[in-house]
């Protein structure tokens, strides 16, 4: 089974088609989930509506157990990357600032374009292309000065907690499901 898919992984032409197909389904689900709308995303950031959180946490709840099972049976070998305070915390906060100004993220901006949002096209897409181009220019300067600073103590949550992977997953799943139930309970 692994060998079958490793051939597929190396097939560049097929992967181009797969990338497009994954995008089509992803865009379809984002639009159906309601998260390609500026109003829904801003309402999440203003904490008046939790649709974005519900979509993201449902994806993680299902995907976390699914990927762990695929890994357990040897079908996939995911390699989560290590992180740093300099890269992940600072970059995350810069992203958050832009997220609130634009009202879309890099995936949902493409979905919003598909649903007819012109501010996403002539504002968002153009802005993101400018921002990522500036980053590409600055990358050699900030790479060793900022991005590698403050390495995180562990790569994965189970390493940090020094727990068995399945126990970690049970705790994480319970916390996420509990949070969603709490949201429903308080009326969001």
């Amino acid at each position: 089974m692994g060998a079958l898919f490793s051939g597929l992984h190396k097939d560049k032409g097929l992967q181009i088609i797969l990338g497009l197909l994954f995008g089509v389904v992803f865009g379809f689900l984002l639009q159906k989930g309601g998260v390609t709308s500026y109003n829904v995303i801003i309402a999440q950031l203003l904490l008046t509506d939790f649709t974005v959180m519900k979509v993201m946490l449902s994806a993680v709840i299902v995907g976390m157990i699914g990927l762990a099972l695929l890994k357990h049976f040897g079908y996939v070998q995911p390699h989560p990357a290590s992180g740093t305070i300099g890269s992940n915390v600072i970059g995350g906060l810069i992203f958050g600032f832009g997220f609130a100004l634009l009202g879309y993220c890099p995936g949902t901006v493409a979905g919003a374009v598909g649903a007819g949002a012109l501010d996403a096209l002539i504002g968002g897409v153009v802005g993101i292309l400018v921002g990522t181009a500036i980053f590409a220019e600055l990358y050699p300067v900030i790479k060793n000065r900022l991005l590698i600073k403050g390495p995180l103590p562990a790569i994965t949550v189970q390493e940090l907690l020094r727990l068995n992977i399945w126990l970690t997953i049970i705790i994480m799943e319970a916390a996420m499901i509990g949070f969603l139930l709490l949201l429903e309970y308080v009326g969001y």
Partner: protein, 202 residues
Amino acid sequence: MTGNNFSFYRRVRILNYAVILRNEVIIILELLTQATWSPYVAGAGIGVLVCLAFLLSNRPIGCSSGFVKADGLIEKTIRPSHVEKEEYYREIVPEVDWAFMIIPGIVIGAFISSMLSGQFHFILVPTTWSATFGNTPVLRVIIAILGGAFLGFGARWAGGCTSGHGISGSIQLSLASMITAACFFAGGIATAMFLFYVIGSA
């Protein structure tokens, strides 16, 4: 006689199957044409999709690197030698591949979804924005470009966006991804509150 009965019952049975099949087709069509799905259903679908991406393409679902590739491809037509020298474009190679194609894919998928439900419509100034900052398209577009620039810059600084870190990274139990996602929302919530409740109410 028995032969006739047999064919009669068979015809009834086939008709029954046809009705069941027709009902299922109707259910699927109704689902596809609904304006929105429960966020739990859409989210669960995305979770399955990320697992399939690992299985079939050996990679997470991420969007921001597609924009870097688009940059490199555009820049290549203007100054190809500069692109070759650029260190970042050696790490994220500007080519039409999986990570690039997901972006037009998302546009198409959202277009299909919104057309099927009749939700597709052109907007320039979203209603939440116009209720606070007015209907001027220029202001909305300028802030959107500015926001997009910070968003793209921050996504590459952090090594991923809402889908790459927030969903795919968290699914892998990556500590860096969960911290990044928390920072996306911490920065986003603080900025949105300031924008709408402080600047917007002034």
